[in-house]
Each structure stands twice: as structure tokens, then as C-alpha cells.
């Protein structure tokens, strides 16, 4: 077993373990963990099977097979950050609406209070 394989298996294995643990403890919601899980599984499979790694590397014209692992990890990171940008955009819209509603509610409450004081 070569050192690259040991490192790759340990790396992707620990990624999967950490993601699982976070989900199990309720620190990570499932819907935000799917991409992480997919990344961990794909990387683990490619690290475990040298034949598969070399096969896919040959298909994609990658000279040094282990660098395929970097490519896969990089693509997953891109997807994950893009996903987060989309999630943040949605959250900031919801946050804006909440703030507006809160302002409107406080103003309505103040109106009612003033009316109550007068009567």
C-alpha cells in the first residue's frame, strides 16, 4: 500500500466520519450535508480502488492519477460554496422580510397603545 493511498483513504474517511458525527449530533442539517456526504463517498471510493482511479484518470487525460482526487475535491468544493451562496441569498431575503414585518408590527402595536391610552 503506497503512502498516497493511505493519506487519501484517511483523509476522505475522516471527512465522512466528521460529517456523519455532525449530522448525528444535530449540528448539521441533512439538506446541507448531502453534498459533503457525496464528496466523502466519491473520494473514498476513488482512494480505495487504485484501478478505478487510474481508469478515470486515463479517461480524462490526467497524467498522474492521484491528482484526479484534487480535481474531484475541487469540483465538490465549488458546488458546495455555490450552494451556500444560493442558500445565503434565500436567507437574506427572508431576513429582510422578517425585519420589515417586525418594524410594521412594532408600529401597529404603538398605534394600538396610543389609542388605548386615549380612551
Amino acid at each position: 500500500m503506497d503512502i498516497v493511498k493511505v493519506m487519501a483513504v484517511t483523509g476522505s474517511g475522516s471527512l465522512l466520519f466528521v460529517v456523519f458525527e455532525l449530522i448525528r449530533r444535530g449540528r448539521l442539517k441533512e439538506r446541507y450535508s448531502l453534498l459533503w456526504l457525496a464528496a466523502g463517498v466519491v473520494l473514498l471510493i476513488l482512494s480505495l480502488s487504485r484501478e478505478l482511479l487510474e481508469y478515470v484518470a486515463r479517461l480524462t487525460g490526467i497524467f498522474y492519477p492521484p491528482s484526479l482526487l484534487f480535481l474531484v475535491a475541487f469540483v465538490f468544493l465549488l458546488l458546495i460554496t455555490l450552494h451556500f451562496s444560493a442558500v445565503i441569498s434565500g436567507l437574506s431575503e427572508k431576513n429582510k422580510i422578517l425585519a420589515q414585518e417586525l418594524g410594521l408590527l412594532k408600529q401597529a402595536l404603538e398605534d394600538i397603545r396610543n389609542e388605548y391610552k386615549r380612551s
Partner: protein
């Protein structure tokens, strides 16, 4: 009797606000005044209430778009017929509101924009500002097929249709140009009328050189994307 709401978005405007509200109360008493305090950290809200205006305090700063939209939501909730956007820094002239309302009342427009360039006034923009203004006005005029001279004007009057639209859709920052494009795409009618504008009585424009580049890029990008969005 139609109900008119005057929306004043205000972020740290305690120095100018009293004067603005007094101007409105004496020159345009028909309108209810609503100050939207956009998370100010000065006494904007208490100054507004002290001067006799209604005030909505947002829990944190949403930016001009979010603040103005809060006003439109208020207008929907309280069934106003007309909403007027009015700056809190003393630039706009309360007596000119009448002029803005004429095309709305005649049913000729769904939104009326007060322009300081339609007739020659005292306002002399700086060189770079002039370039920006002319780019926006060309882009916008070609999209909506009528000449627009003052695309970034924050002095506007909206009828019920437009109020409804803005309460649902309104851009977050630098909203003026983009919102006109969105209105046009929703087949609302836009009209400009000539108004006076004063030099701001206190404080500086929020537009610094770096921000103005962001401003241009953001607005043009937003406009292009708006045009590509499905209706």
C-alpha cells in the same frame, strides 16, 4: 377622499428630519408622513415622532431598498391610494408633490418620477456624476422607450398598482433605476415631471468613488438580468 402616504426612508438623519417634516406639514398637509428609520444609531426615530410623523424602526440596517419597501408594505396594509417617496435629507421640495400627483390622478401613469434635469435648474453635477447620469438615462430610456432624464431620483409617486407591485418586489440597494425597469416589464406606465431640488442641507452623498463603480456595475448587471428573467 384618497389617502396619501409620504414615505421617508431615513438613516441617521436626525439633523435634517425636523426641517423635512415641517416642510411637508406646512406645504403638503394632505399626506400622512411615515418615516422608516433604517436601523439608525442616532435619534432619527425620536426626532421623527417628536416632529409629529409616524415612524417605523427597523431592527437593523436593511439599506435604502428594504427601508422604502417597508413603507410600501405599510401603504398596502393601511390601504393608501398613493404613496410618495421623499428623501429625508432635505433635497426634495414638499410643495412639488402636487405636481407629481397630477399624472396619477389623470390616470396617465402608474409611477411619476420627479426629475431635476427636465428643465434647467441650479443643480450642477460633478463630471463623473454627469457621465453616470447620462449612461443610466440612455440605458433606461432605450429599455422603456420614453426619455428619462433623472433615473436615480428618489422623489417618486406611486398609485395603488405600483404600491402593490413594490410591496412584493423591490431591489435592495441602489434600487431606483432597477425598479423602473421591473415596473416597465410589468407593463406599468412611467412618467417624469420636472421638480426643483435643493442642495442637501446636512451630510454628504453616500456615493464615494469606489461605491460609484459598484453602483454602475450593480445597476447595469441587475438591469440586464431583469431583462432576461422570465415574466
Amino acid at each position: 377622499m384618497r389617502k396619501i402616504l409620504i414615505i421617508i426612508p431615513a438613516y441617521n438623519e436626525e439633523k435634517c428630519l425636523t426641517g423635512v417634516i415641517e416642510d411637508l406639514r406646512s406645504h403638503y398637509p394632505a399626506g400622512d408622513i411615515l418615516v422608516v428609520d433604517d436601523g439608525s444609531n442616532d435619534g432619527t426615530a425620536s426626532v421623527a415622532r417628536g416632529a409629529g410623523a409616524r415612524c417605523i424602526s427597523l431592527p437593523f440596517n436593511l439599506g435604502i431598498g428594504g427601508a422604502v419597501q417597508t413603507g410600501y408594505r405599510y401603504a398596502v396594509a393601511h390601504e393608501y391610494d398613493i404613496a410618495v417617496q421623499f428623501d429625508g435629507d432635505g433635497q426634495h421640495v414638499a410643495a412639488d408633490i402636487e405636481k407629481l400627483l397630477i399624472p396619477l390622478e389623470q390616470g396617465l401613469a402608474d409611477i411619476v418620477v420627479g426629475s431635476r434635469f427636465l428643465t434647467a435648474g441650479e443643480y450642477r453635477p460633478s463630471f463623473f456624476r454627469k457621465i453616470g447620469i447620462s449612461i443610466f438615462s440612455r440605458v433606461l430610456s432605450s429599455i422603456i422607450d420614453i426619455p428619462m432624464t433623472d433615473t436615480t431620483s428618489g422623489f417618486r409617486a406611486a398609485n395603488r398598482r405600483t404600491i402593490q407591485f413594490f410591496s412584493a418586489v423591490y431591489p435592495d440597494d441602489y434600487p431606483e433605476v432597477e425598479s423602473l425597469v421591473q415596473l416597465h416589464r410589468a407593463s406599468m406606465r412611467i412618467q417624469e415631471v420636472s421638480v426643483r431640488m435643493r442642495d442637501r442641507s446636512e451630510g454628504k452623498s453616500s456615493i464615494t468613488p469606489v461605491r460609484s463603480v459598484y453602483y454602475m456595475v450593480k445597476v447595469l448587471l441587475a438591469v440586464i438580468i431583469d431583462l432576461m428573467k422570465k415574466r
